[in-house]
């Protein structure tokens, strides 16, 4: 082949590629302009709308399952420990002396939280994915009863009251509590909790149950985000008090200390409205322990971190029977912090009111009462103390093990091995990266600190990459994001690798980026996350209201026959199956501090559980998108709708 032919050949191929690209680009742009009724505000391709199938997405594919320990429960005699394995749909029983797993029972629906009756004969299991409470007889480790509860039951507490035995179940998705009678197993009432109730603990006399809620109340977002500790009288089935944790959230554990009349709740102190530049000053996120004094009603937030080293994602707390020590599992730091309660009580006894109020900001203070840090394997998420106070048991969730340590010497005694740790599974490896604070400045937080379970923390943040004090951005869920690229509200990150890569490290982590291998695992994990769960189950028929709402969603004309412009139809920007066209749009929501009017059209899968809404989280409910923030019908033509029609539309959106 002569040189000229080679040049011509390569040139021809190059020209063909160029023409193909130009044709695709301009053809797609023209086609999309025609289809959406306006100029696309970003680069567009055929893949905005075509060749999109949820069946091919990573989260829809089968994935390996692991023996990840969730809830723990010790038998009254201390000889057996029960471990909830939600990813396996099993509950395991292990022998405390030999550290061997004795039996496993299949419990469908993601068994997550456990509680035993005082006799140890019945094990109550909150099945987070199945929206039910299962009852197992421990003698045969067989399921003998089941009752539907609210959505996402994450934990359960048993209470013996004068009015009979009661169970209090924290329904993390439906934001309520199921208060049940045990015999017969029946729901007595379902009072409202805070947002995402996650952990419950009961007074030994059954007089009170305390519920830790993960997210701040929507109503507190603008005035000062605050999560709630819900206090319930299980006998009367009433909520008797709601304590607030100011500027704090992500409480996933709770433990009563009857001897001191305390309730302990771990928390993340969050200052989401300061610019992210303040990560470098340690002002954005820190870990703490809320101490509720049941006599005075005071709730005091105490720091768990040290000035230059943080112990992120405090997930669980347990107290020894003598009320001498509390053990706090920090899931992001692979540590159990040991708090000397006597020292803590002394400090609280001598501190002024002002000192108590400021305590959480003084990271040097933890040295007064944190007397040890027990290293664990990956992602300690649950902790219990033996009845004699001699041992602690720590669920190392992403290691498939339960650590057993001496509660006095703080030395490890061994591990109950449930699985192989899943190191060969990139999704599991990615979850380890996702939940680890090893990559952030001073280990202040992990990805999970803002995205619990890959979802939202319900807050808006001031990222400084585009200026300080402006462009407040709502935290978007990572659940169901696979296939919805580009990412970010401005739609400028084409892949998760870029989203979570070096730029992210500079803007947020303030340290070195994730190593390449970990970044790949991380993005694999994120893409494996299915959309948020909703109340409707696959296969359920739409109700009449939902059907009417569906017709509105796909409507091309208003009821009086007027054509709805292409750019103002719901389905134009939110086409199925992902309900996003993956392009930015101006929907009239630009605020005074926003530098751009165009925002990425988010996917709508599981949108019912993703409040607040819009790019800056200004809409607390789906209704507000149209009743308050739909300027000139720019976010879909809705001005013709009456309230019944709007309710229908929202009912339909909640099924996606």
């Amino acid at each position: 082949m002569n040189l000229r032919a080679l040049i011509y050949g390569l040139g021809g191929v190059g020209l063909a590629i160029l023409l193909g690209w130009l044709g695709h680009h301009f053809g797609s742009t023209t086609h999309i302009r025609r289809k959406i009724g306006q100029e696309p505000l970003a680069k567009a391709s055929c893949f905005q709308c075509h060749f999109v199938s949820t069946k091919r997405l990573p989260w829809a594919r089968p994935r390996p399952h692991h023996d990840s320990p969730a809830g723990l429960a010790l038998s009254p005699d201390g000889k057996r420990i029960y471990v909830a394995l939600d990813d396996r749909d099993e509950v395991a029983e292990a022998d405390v002396a030999s550290l061997k797993v004795l039996r496993r029972a299949r419990v469908a629906g993601g068994p997550f939280g456990l509680a035993l009756n005082p006799e140890g004969s019945s094990l109550f299991v909150a099945c987070k994915n199945g929206d039910r409470l299962a009852v197992l007889e421990t003698a045969g480790l067989t399921e003998t009863g089941s009752l539907g509860v609210g959505l996402g039951p994450a934990s359960v507490a048993f209470c013996r009251t004068a009015k009979g035995d009661r169970l209090v179940v924290a329904n993390s998705i439906s934001d309520d509590l199921s208060i049940l009678s045990v015999s017969p197993l029946a729901e007595l009432t379902r009072p409202a909790a805070g947002r995402e109730p996650f952990a419950v603990t009961a007074m030994p006399d059954g007089s009170r149950v305390f519920v830790a809620n993960r997210l701040v109340g929507l109503e507190t977002l603008r005035t000062g985000p605050a999560a709630e500790i819900t206090v319930v009288d299980p006998g009367t089935t009433r909520v008797v008090r709601r304590d607030t944790l100011d500027s704090a959230h992500l409480s996933e554990g709770a433990s009563v200390v009857p001897a001191r009349s305390w309730v302990l709740v771990p928390l993340v102190k969050v200052r989401n409205q300061v610019p992210i530049t303040q990560v470098a000053n340690g002002w954005v996120m820190s870990s703490g322990l809320a101490v509720t004094d049941l006599k005075s009603g005071e709730v005091i937030q105490m720091p768990l971190d040290e000035a230059n080293d943080y112990f992120s994602d405090p997930s669980a707390v347990a107290v020894d029977p003598g009320a001498r020590r509390a053990f706090v599992a920090s899931g992001g730091s692979d540590v159990v912090s040991v708090v000397d309660l006597e020292r803590l009580a002394k400090w609280l006894g001598r501190a002024s009111v002002a000192e108590k109020q400021e305590a959480i900001y003084d990271l040097a203070l933890s040295s007064e009462y944190v007397i040890g840090r027990i290293p664990t394997k990956r992602n300690p998420r649950q902790v219990v103390v033996s009845g004699d106070g001699s041992k602690i048991f720590v669920a190392e969730r992403l290691e498939d093990t339960v650590l057993v340590a001496d509660a006095r010497t703080l030395q490890p005694l061994g591990r109950i091995v449930l699985g192989d740790g899943g190191q060969s599974d990139p999704i599991r490896r990615g979850e380890r990266v996702f939940t680890s604070s090893a990559y952030t400045f001073q280990h202040q937080f992990s990805c999970r600190s803002c995205h619990p379970d890959g979802h939202v923390d319900g807050l808006s943040y001031d990222f400084d990459g585009d200026g300080i004090g402006d462009n407040l951005l709502d935290n978007r869920s990572l659940q169901g994001v696979a296939g919805t690229e580009p990412f970010k509200w401005n739609g400028k990150n084409p892949t998760l690798e870029i989203q979570c890569g070096p730029r992210f490290a500079r803007v947020l982590m303030r340290t070195e980026p994730f190593p390449a291998a970990q970044l790949k695992d991380l993005t694999t994990f994120i893409q494996s996350l299915p959309p948020p769960r909703i109340a409707r189950h696959a296969g359920d028929k739409l109700t009449q209201s939902e059907e009417r709402g569906r017709a509105i969603f796909f409507a091309t004309k208003t009821p009086d026959g007027k054509e709805i412009p292409l750019a103002r139809r719901c389905v134009t920007c939110h086409p199925p199956p992902l309900y996003t066209v993956k392009l930015p749009f101006n929907v009239g929501t630009k605020g005074p501090f926003d530098s751009s009017a165009a925002f990425d059209a988010p996917h709508l899968l599981g949108i019912a559980d993703s409040a607040p809404y819009l790019h800056d989280g200004r809409a607390q409910t789906l209704e507000e998108l149209w009743t308050i923030y739909n300027t000139n019908d720019m976010h879909g033509v809705s001005s013709y709708m009456n309230k019944i029609q709007l309710n229908d539309l929202i009912d339909y959106l909640k099924t996606l």
């Binding site: 609210g150 439906s174 309520d176 007595l188 009432t189 379902r190 009072p191 409202a192 109340g217 109503e219 709630e228 819900t230 206090v231 009367t236 089935t237 009433r238 909520v239 008797v240 008090r241 709601r242 109340a535 209201s545 607390q620 409910t621 209704e623 507000e624 009743t627 308050i628 009456n642 309230k643 019944i644 709007l646 309710n647 929202i650 009912d651 909640k654």
Partner: protein
Amino acid sequence: MNPGITLPALVAALVATLAPGYTLRAAPVADVPFPVIERFENLGMKEGMPSHKVHCVLTASDGKLWVGTYKGILVREDGKFRKIGTENGLSHPMVMCMAEDTRNGDMWIGTMRGLNRYSAGRITTYTQTSCGMPNNVVYGVDVDGATVWVATAAGLGEFNLKTGGWSIYDHNNTVMHEPWVYAVKSAKDRVFVGVWGGGILEYDPASKVFKEHRDPDRDFHFDLFPDDGPVADITSWIAWEDGIMWQGTYFGLSRYDGSRWRTWQEKKSPLIGNFVNFVWAHRRVAWVGTDRGLSVTDGNTWVNYRTNEKGEGVVEIARPGKPVESRGMETHLANDFVLGIWADDHEAWLATSDGLSHAIFSESQKPAATAAR
């Protein structure tokens, strides 16, 4: 007209009222089949009410007294009143109605701008823009299991506490004559809805069917054929207990037991006034708040409380077939314009346009349980 009340009885009552020294202090009241009020203890602005107007009152299942006023709520606990207002998160100061979810103690509060859920100190507000509620003006609220019903100026709202979903019923999707809903009351397996100019709707949640009860003669002022249906279409309030529904209208009072209607208007019966603001049902007795005072009746015997021209309290007892017995009281209602009532076997509370009255019962009364069917 109530056939038990004769013209001579009415004349006797009139004579007794106008005659000097009419009081019959020693007359026995033990034969009245429901409690008779012996005296009133009144609370006005001097005693801490935040406004003259008190719109609604109820005693919660934990014994706390809740008072809804023109300027917020007062809660009496341990003998002391505590105010809850917009400063605490209440969506609007003008409180129109309240209902308790007795399963968990949550109080649902209707205001001129939105519905509020008071739960252990936390107030959650529901408005027509933040949720699927039909309208911000909430005239009536009731709780039935996991359902909260709201009567609003633009239809009836059904809030499902388990799903968080709202359904709206109005003139677009029901037989409702117009969307201005004044009252709602759940009644076991039924829901009664008071529509301002549209009579009463009876809703069956199981079949999702609305049945309309309208005044057959369609005349506001005259009840041409008594007992043939609702006394009038202008429904101001609905009460229900023990199988009996009571309709308050601005033109009289109706009673419905599921098959038969009875109606009462002033002058034709002992009903103290046609302008009925509110009806409270306890057992089978209606406590009727009007613009002229309070009537209490089981449908046969009536006891009226009002204030005479001298500012003195008067009680009138109309027994079936007997002359009206009238006597003075040492105390009187805070105001005869009665807007809200709560009563049980032991006491009653009356919200009026100028203060709150606590009604102390005569010791000699039989409980209302013996009231005739």
